[in-house]
């Protein structure tokens, strides 16, 4: 069934419209703006839900004259991500109503959060790569603003810049990948297209996956495209070694962490991997390998899953632990999508849902703990169950799910990943058995830190912990809703798959896909993957007593220099900053002469380069004949005028004071005016005369302020100046020669001549001609009035610039 175009468009537009009016709403509602934003999110969710089960492309005409359309696409995966963006959005907005109480900058906060939600929905619904890229970068930008919410904190600024640099630059690599893909589509599909899914006459990339893939393989572009798209996904989804921005991003207010940095934005990366999966993974029953795709994403995913889980064990702050854990689980999803066997896609699709449910819940729990206990340090927290009973229940459910303990929902998706890892390992044999081994190894650490997080709520209450308040309902309710979601999916996993995750799997699977089921509550038949799950839990339980030693050992290992990507990031940034500091010394000299010289030389270089590229031949005036023509036209007067002008120009060069310079320069100007008179151009002559007079007056006005004499000439300054002047002169002369040699079409001139004047016979009112005897003026105010409007706008802008730059220069903040 096709989705309804109006509904999809409304889903996309609502958050942005909401964001636009949020500053106004904030003036009226104050802190209750949170519930306004939650209402917007609810409307989006309702609209998204109304489209459940639909599948297809809708195209909305945007600029039909140019063939530009806004194309949206909805399938199971897009539905899942849109569901998370709007659903978790409601909870996060509600939670913010309690959490952000008394915090600064709330109007900005809700505006940005709504923009983010819109951008995320855009990422989910975009049917074409350009739109996808635009929304993708918009999520990065809004994340940048939200991480830097506390603008005065150095750590916030560091964190927001880090996330921006990493995710946006990754996005640019992705864009290059898209461009390569679009250029390859020319050969594969016969037309260059950015469309992932076809509409109208435009073919879609995914629908022609085999053709696109074989073209890419022929041209040797398969690995580059996978790597470039992978870089975009890896930076966005915090995959090793780009995971470093995610722990810093926890500087953001906790609702933001729950929303952007666990449930949605970081899911954009895995969403991208899922989107491209049917393009790069060949369809069919017995497919175990996808060229370039499987090695890149399985290695990336498993590496991230393991390394990030180990780093989570070494964390000392609850939000840091959750951040690393998020990276680790995203690694699991990426690895799942990386496998070519169907279980991989199932694992990824189902885990997107499961991870969003338990991790968002845990972030909200962490926010409650930090807010009520006043600390986020793991060592200081313990035995919170008496103070926060409901929170404890939510945390218990979510942690057990995160640890992958049956029958909680996290178990089922992890079991599917084990299944994919085992099938792939067993099929190829040999070293490939490392794949399931690493999956188990990483999962053991996941188990460890999940139980450690849970232990905050049990055991003895430490002496140092002060009074812990119970959280407000606005904070508790969203966490409880997410906890209930975990319970619901755990109780009826196959229903959740049937409703949501199955369709999402169908979207990431190549060709016709079937839905899938998981054994509930626990797998009863002995199988290698069931054993892997069992081994994970047993090893984890056995290692847990040594948690502190592991924690210490990993923390020590992290201090070894140059093993951390952070060192490279900081070092690279420091080097960049040093380099940037050098540039102003050369570029910004604060001397007008440098700017003038560089501007003029640049203009000349562009103009001359343009002539060179265009292959313009310079028409040489034919000897003296053209001068003779001038002489014939103007006769002796013209020769005299030109001679005087030449003398004037020469005199400017040898003038030794400003007054002499200005006066000799105006000789030149007045001679030009007389030349216009002789050449029968009265309008030009008038203008030139008047302007020349005014400029002379203004010069006289400012001459007071300048030194009277030029002073002695320094050869080291004079020679470069002479070169600049020479280059400018040559360029201008060439330009005049080139432009005047071209004969404009006679039609336009005759058109003006015909249409400008008053016709012979006319009534009291004319409507079909210029109605003026002065063609120059009719051209200026009528035929070419738009040009004139532009010119007077420039004049007005110049006046404004003088007004602000010169007149108000001392009116900055420091006055």
């Amino acid at each position: 069934m096709q989705p309804e175009p109006a509904v999809l468009l409304a889903v996309l537009a609502l958050p942005f419209v909401g964001a636009a009016v949020t500053p106004l709403v904030y003036r009226v509602l104050g802190e209750r703006t949170a519930y306004f934003a939650a209402a917007v999110a609810t409307a989006c969710l309702a609209l998204v839900l109304s489209q459940h089960g639909t599948h297809g492309t809708v195209s909305v005409e945007w600029i039909p004259q140019l063939g530009v359309n806004l194309v949206l696409y909805l399938d199971g995966l897009a539905f899942l991500v849109a569901l998370l963006a709007s659903g978790v959005g409601i909870l996060v907005f509600t939670y913010s109503g309690g959490y952000m109480h008394g915090e600064p900058g709330q109007a900005k906060y809700y505006t940005t959060l709504l923009v983010f939600m819109g951008a995320m929905l855009g990422v989910a619904l975009a049917a074409d790569l350009v739109a996808l890229f635009v929304f993708w970068e918009l999520t990065s930008v809004s994340s940048f603003v939200l991480i830097g919410h506390y603008q005065r904190e150095t750590s916030s600024l560091y964190a927001s810049r880090k996330s921006m640099l990493i995710t946006v630059s990754g996005g640019l690599f992705m864009l290059v990948g898209f461009l390569v893909l679009a250029s390859a589509s020319t050969d594969a599909l016969g037309t260059s297209t950015f469309a992932l899914f076809g509409y109208g006459d435009v073919p879609g990339l995914v629908e022609n996956a085999d053709a696109v893939r074989s073209t890419l393989t022929e041209q040797g572009l398969l690995l580059p495209v996978v790597a470039l798209v992978g870089l975009g996904a890896a930076t966005k989804s915090a995959q090793v070694p780009f995971h470093i921005w995610l722990p810093n991003a926890m500087e953001a207010p906790t609702p933001v962490s729950a929303f952007l940095h666990s449930a949605t934005m970081v899911k954009a990366g895995v969403y991208l991997v899922g989107r491209f999966r049917p393009l790069f993974v060949p369809g069919g029953e017995d497919v175990y390998f996808a060229e370039a795709w499987l090695p890149v994403f399985v290695v990336l995913g498993l590496l991230t899953m393991t390394v990030a889980a180990m780093l989570a064990v070494s964390a000392t702050d609850i939000k840091e632990l959750l951040a690393y854990s998020t990276a680790s689980h995203l690694g699991l999803i990426v690895a799942g999508f990386g496998f070519a066997v169907s279980y991989g896609g199932e694992a990824g699709a189902f885990h997107i849902l499961n991870h969003a449910s338990f991790k968002a819940a845990l972030f909200l729990v962490a926010g409650i703990v930090a807010h009520e206990a006043g600390t986020r340090n793991i060592a200081e927290l313990s035995g919170l169950r008496d103070d926060l009973p409901i929170t404890t229940i939510i945390a218990t459910v979510a942690c057990l799910s995160m640890a992958g303990i049956p029958p909680f929902n996290g178990f089922f998706s992890k079991e599917l990943l084990f299944e994919a890892a085992w099938e792939t390992g067993a099929h190829f044999g040999g070293l490939w058995f490392l794949v399931p081994a690493i999956a188990v190894f990483g999962s053991i650490f996941t188990f460890l830190y999940s139980i450690r997080f849970l232990s905050l709520f049990y055991g003895d209450r430490p002496e140092g912990l002060g009074e812990v308040h119970s959280p407000p309902l606005a904070m508790l309710a969203p966490a409880a809703v997410l906890g209930l979601a975990v319970v619901a999916i755990s109780l009826r996993p196959n229903l959740a798959i049937e409703l949501v995750a199955g369709d999402a799997y169908a979207a990431v699977a190549p060709g016709e896909a079937h839905s899938f089921t998981v054994p509930w509550p626990i797998p009863l038949e002995p199988s290698p993957y069931a054993l892997m799950s069992l081994a994970t839990i047993l090893f984890g339980a056995a290692a847990y007593p040594f948690y502190d030693r592991l924690h210490g050992a990993i923390a020590r290992a992290r201090t070894v220099p140059y093993t951390s990507p952070n060192a490279y990031y900081d070092g690279g940034l420091a080097a960049l900053e040093r380099t940037s500091a050098l540039v102003p010394g050369y570029v910004q000299t604060r001397m007008f002469r440098t700017y003038a010289a560089s501007t003029m030389l640049a203009v000349c270089a562009l103009a001359l380069g343009g002539y060179l590229v265009a292959g313009v031949t310079v028409p040489v005036p034919e000897g003296l004949s053209s001068l003779t023509v001038l002489g014939l036209v103007g006769g002796v007067p013209l020769a005299v005028v030109l001679l005087v002008a030449l003398f004037g120009a020469a005199a400017v060069g040898i003038a030794d004071s400003h007054v002499a310079g200005v006066l000799t320069l105006s000789i030149l100007g007045f001679m030009v005016a007389i030349f216009y008179v002789l050449a029968s151009a009265p309008d030009l002559a008038l203008t030139q005369l008047v302007i020349e007079t005014l400029v002379l007056l203004i010069f006289l006005l400012v001459l007071d302020k300048l030194p009277a004499w030029y002073g002695s000439l320094d050869v080291r300054e004079a020679v470069p100046d002479a070169v600049v002047a020479g280059v400018v002169g040559v360029t201008v002369t060439l330009t005049v020669l080139v432009t005047t040699s071209a004969q404009p079409s006679q039609n336009i001139a005759s058109f003006f001549v015909e249409r400008a004047p008053v016709p012979e016979e006319h009534g009291p009112v004319l409507v079909d001609s210029g109605g003026g005897g002065n063609i120059v003026n009719v051209i200026l105010v009528d035929f070419r009035a738009f040009d004139t409007l532009g010119e007077i706008t420039v004049v007005a802008m110049a006046a404004l610039a003088v007004l602000t730059l010169v007149g108000m220069r001392n009116r900055g903040e420091d006055v």
Binding site: L686, T693, L766, V778, V781, L789, A796, V802, V806, G807
Partner: protein, 162 residues
Amino acid sequence: MSTDTDTTVIARTVVRVVVPVILLTAVALLLQGHNLPGGGFIAGVLTVTAFALVYIVFGREFLQRELLHVDDDGFLGGSIGEYGRTFTFGLALAASSGLAAIVVGELFAGGRYEFITQGVWFVYHVPVYHEIEIPTALFFDLGVYFVVVGALLTILAVVGRE
């Protein structure tokens, strides 16, 4: 900077005679622009020249007090603010004359808006002139005139203050 005291009697007398002539010429150039050499731009620059002469010979104080009747010497409240409003008005006038032509053309002429001069009125039997032509493009030219006057005077005043 020139003040009331350091200019000669000759200069002041000449300016006193010349400035009205310049302004009159400017207005004439503006109005006859459609048929004879002239137009908003030239007229504007000429007007500014007249102001500049007064400014140099009689000083800023005199210009503000006697000609513009602005007492306030504040930055935007004074003459500069006046100039700023002038070019803003000019720009608005020029732009709206174009818009009006489009709207009127769309409404009454069935989309024929090739000419800003949607209409040229001829007024006959006027004393001295006999026949006067008033094109709608005059409004556009007036806009140009005000922009040029306002902008150049702003520049002159700001630079002159320094």
